[in-house]
């Protein structure tokens, strides 16, 4: 499946340390969001953000642990919606690679119910307002825009 959102960061800490910040609820909460994560495949947990009524979002990301390879790989589903039970489904993948006494952390957030395939259909369009589609494709095709991003 094509990638949707991708970020790559280098941290000068070993994978074991970065891993802790991805898998210990109290450490995750320090940089991401309040959560009840547990490093167990199949564990269902939530992230709590602020509701955004203008975006039809109830403030909760409904997640389930899909894959764990200690210090290397973590993946969970990431569903969200307006709170009426209807959900947009997506998947968050973390990959840790040891490099120069530090860690390359790669995040890929994909899925979104086929949005990527859909948007690529519009590649050849030329109408004015469809510049928007181009912007979307840019986000989708964006690779490795980590720490250099403004």
């Amino acid at each position: 499946m094509a990638k949707i959102i991708q970020h790559q960061f280098f941290y000068p800490n070993p994978p074991e340390v970065v891993w802790e910040y991805l898998t210990k609820p109290e450490l995750i909460a320090q940089w991401l969001m309040k959560n009840d994560f547990e490093p167990t495949i199949g564990h269902e947990f939530n992230f709590h953000a602020s509701p955004m009524p203008d975006m039809d979002f109830d403030g909760i990301f409904y997640c389930k642990v899909l894959e764990i390879v200690p210090f290397k790989k973590l993946s969970y589903s990431w569903d969200f919606g307006p709170g009426d039970g209807s959900m947009t489904r997506s998947v968050v993948n973390w990959t840790l690679t040891e490099k120069d006494n530090g860690t390359d952390l790669l995040l890929i957030h994909r899925g979104f119910e086929g949005a990527n395939n859909f948007l690529s259909m519009f590649n050849s369009m030329e109408k004015g307002w469809l510049e928007l589609i181009q912007k979307l494709l840019k986000i989708i095709n964006n690779t490795a825009n980590g720490t250099t991003q403004a």
């Binding site: 800490n13 086929g114 259909m121």
Partner: protein, 108 residues
């Protein structure tokens, strides 16, 4: 089925609806002309058109005796909002993590 208003991602999750939008991106079409491209009943086509209309992906205009479907920006804005939001979201969260990890390194 589909009582509630579907969000933009759910709207385009359906292959027939994606195909409809693609056809309409080439040219606006009457409901009949659009339906001719699909091997499904007219009520089924109408249902999809209603979903697209409700989510702001198309507008419907009566021209003469025909109803024309025209692509509309609103639905696409919705998709863009979320993808742009998450792109920004992860960028800023990962910077938080960077600050935390730096702090930890400097304390040692």
């Amino acid at each position: 089925m589909e009582q509630h208003r579907l969000d933009a991602f759910q709207v385009i999750a359906d292959p027939s609806r994606r195909q409809m939008l693609y056809l309409l991106s080439k040219d606006s079409l009457t409901i009949n002309a659009l339906a001719d491209n699909f091997d499904m009943s007219r009520p089924a086509v109408s249902k999809h058109i209603k979903v697209l209309y409700n989510a702001g992906f198309i507008s419907i205009q009566d021209i003469g005796r025909e109803r024309h479907c025209i692509l509309k920006q609103e639905g696409f804005n919705e998709l863009h909002k979320w993808l742009a939001y998450f792109d920004e979201f992860w960028g800023s969260k990962l910077k938080n993590l960077e600050a935390l990890l730096n702090e930890r390194t400097n304390k040692k």
